[in-house]
């Protein structure tokens, strides 16, 4: 599950899933919702990302999706991921399109990602 919460200037997203991989997938769907417009050829890209801690891994993941959208016009629609510690590895799938250049960056403000009471949750503020 992902939902956008009130923030005066930027976009704050709350994420929840049964696993770390699930939260990252929810983040992908939230990002795809914001950029719209992938109806071209199918694309697949391998990703291997590491960070100093779990919240930074969530930021790095979204930063990678943003990079792929800007440089390859990849609008993501799914991924196969494996999280081990503070590393994520896998494949991002989507279509080439004209992603709306709305999201500028992924901030560390109010950033959260981890397990709590049997579920995994995340929160991230995007600069738009």
């Amino acid at each position: 599950m992902y939902r956008f919460v009130e923030h005066t200037a930027e976009l704050e997203v709350e994420l929840e899933a049964g696993s770390a991989e699930g939260v990252l997938l929810e983040a992908l769907h939230a990002f795809a919702d914001l950029v719209d417009g992938g109806d071209g050829e199918k694309l697949e890209r391998q990703v291997v990302l590491s960070a100093g801690d779990l919240p930074a891994l969530l930021a790095a993941w979204l930063d990678e999706l943003l990079f792929l959208a800007e440089t390859e016009q990849l609008v993501p629609d799914g991924a196969e991921l494996r999280v081990a510690g503070t590393t994520v590895e896998g494949v991002v799938r989507g279509r080439r399109g004209e992603p709306r250049p709305l999201v500028k960056a992924v901030t560390l403000h109010r950033l959260r990602f981890g397990p709590r009471d049997g579920v995994w949750t995340g929160r991230v503020v995007l600069d738009v």
Binding site: T8, A9, G97, P99, R100, P101
Partner: protein
């Protein structure tokens, strides 16, 4: 925040407490203050006041609103050499800013060519979605832009460069401090506007509030103008991302404790601090070149619709940055002034101002929101005395994008604007609704506050004829 102490009609202070090294100072009237207290912007301002080396006060302009780390509409000066520099205090869109062009014709002379001109501008200045309209720069050409700003572009007009803050080039820019990832994001984005609150707006000078200064800036009542709002695009966004990450990882090493991770910083004299300032300067130069390329696009559109003579006679009034950190001297101290959603506003006499404007003060442009007014201001001496030579940068948001969409639909807003004679070009109805006038504070009120506070004075009020949004 009940602890706010009223200093005078438009100045409020929150005394230093709980880790704050300096007080927090806010410029606002009662109504604006009530709006400011509706979100977390004052908490964020107090967090800024904890930064190592911060001097005098963490300052908020009347357009302040909640951001990430620093509030938008915030100013913080840190004393050099060892005060910190914080990439988040500049923001991801390094040197986001505004450029005003003045056309050599009046609204009646433009007549029924208004829609054609707005349409042509929308073709000449792409938002940057997909590959449409992008021109890739070779690595050496990109290096030149990062180092020299607009001067590196072919055929650039010297009068444009002269009428740009810092003449479009920050000293100390080092292309080698800009990552490959940032280059990949930005190399084909020059001349693109971006999305969100970025725009190109066709306007008319509706009212002159200081005729002599307006004349000096080349503005007359009824004249047609074009206001460009854009920044450093993906290149600048990535530079900030890279250095926030780097400094976040080094906080323990410098024994810096922060209330918000996004305030990540390092001493300006450290390796990380110096390298960030060099990369930020390069991204700022890229942004000035971007607005130059957009202005070239606008002139091409003007030539196509109104003729080559009108395009040649389209003069740049000025170009100001509102997301940048600069090394300046204030009160005898060398400081790094972070302006995040805030505009430099030096008064008359400053040698930082183009010679032609030196007797009246630096021009400042305050975009309102789509469908409302924008203002041309001039810097006043009070800015140097009270806000490190700074004034506001816009109306300031009061509603989130979600809240704006709940109140108005894009199609409805488009009809409303068109009924008022404003031509709209925006591919996304959702994006249009998110930037609706009701999402912003009253810009007239905001500029009255900065005038009353002695930071800048009103010179001219501009109203929209057409808007192009990404």
């Amino acid at each position: 925040m009940s602890e706010l102490v009223r200093i005078d009609e438009t100045t409020w202070e929150l005394p230093a407490r709980e880790g704050m090294r300096v007080p927090a100072r806010v410029f606002a009237d009662d109504e604006i203050l009530a709006e400011i207290e509706g979100d977390l912007s004052l908490d964020q301002l107090c967090n800024v006041a904890t930064l190592p080396g911060v001097v005098e006060a963490a300052i908020a302009m009347p357009d302040i609103h909640q951001g990430y780390g620093f509030p938008v509409g915030g100013v913080a000066a840190t004393e050099l050499p060892d005060g910190v520099v914080s990439p988040g205090g500049v923001g991801y869109d390094i040197n986001c800013g505004v450029r005003l062009l003045a056309l050599p014709l009046s609204e009646p002379e433009l007549g029924d060519r208004r829609e054609a001109l707005v349409h042509e501008i929308s073709r000449a200045v792409p938002a940057g979605a997909g590959k449409h309209g992008r021109r890739a720069l070779a690595p050496t050409a990109l290096d030149a832009v990062l180092h020299d700003g607009p001067r590196a572009l072919p055929g650039v007009r010297e009068d444009d460069v002269e009428r740009t803050e810092s003449r479009g080039r920050l000293e100390g820019a080092d292309p080698a401090a800009v990552s490959e990832r940032a280059r990949l994001r930005g190399h084909d984005q020059l001349g693109t506007m971006g999305s969100g609150n970025h725009f190109v707006e066709l306007q008319v000078v509706e009212q002159l509030l200081d005729e002599a200064s307006a004349r000096t800036f080349g503005l007359a009542a009824g004249q047609v103008t074009v206001l460009v709002h854009s920044g450093s695009r993906g290149l600048g966004h990535q530079v900030c991302t890279d250095y926030v990450k780097l400094m976040d990882a080094q906080l323990a090493r410098y024994r810096i404790h922060l209330p918000d991770r996004q305030l990540a910083c390092a001493p300006a004299s450290s390796v990380e601090g110096r390298r960030y300032l060099a990369a930020m300067a390069a991204a700022a130069n890229f942004a000035w070149a971007n607005r130059q390329a957009i202005a070239d696009g606008v002139r091409r559109a003007v030539a196509a619709v109104l003729g080559a003579d009108v395009a040649r006679g389209t003069e740049q009034v000025y170009d100001v940055a509102h997301n940048v950190a600069k090394v300046e001297t204030h009160g005898g101290r060398r400081v790094c002034v972070h302006r995040k959603g805030a505009t430099r506003a030096f008064p008359a006499g400053s040698d930082e101002i183009p010679a032609a404007y030196r007797d009246v003060g630096q021009p400042v442009f305050i975009p309102g929101s789509m469908g409302t007014a924008s203002f041309v201001l001039a810097g006043e001496p009070g800015a140097l005395e009270r806000s490190f030579g700074t004034t506001c940068h816009g109306a300031g948001r009061r509603l989130s994008r979600t809240a704006a969409r709940k109140r108005v639909q894009g199609s409805e807003l488009r009809r409303e604007l068109e009924a008022r004679g404003i031509v709209v070009r925006c591919p996304s109805p959702k994006g249009l609704a998110e930037e609706a006038p009701l999402a912003y504070k009253d810009v007239d009120r905001v500029v009255r506050v900065v005038e009353q506070a002695g930071l800048a004075r009103r010179v001219a009020r501009l109203t929209p004829l057409g808007v192009v949004k990404g």
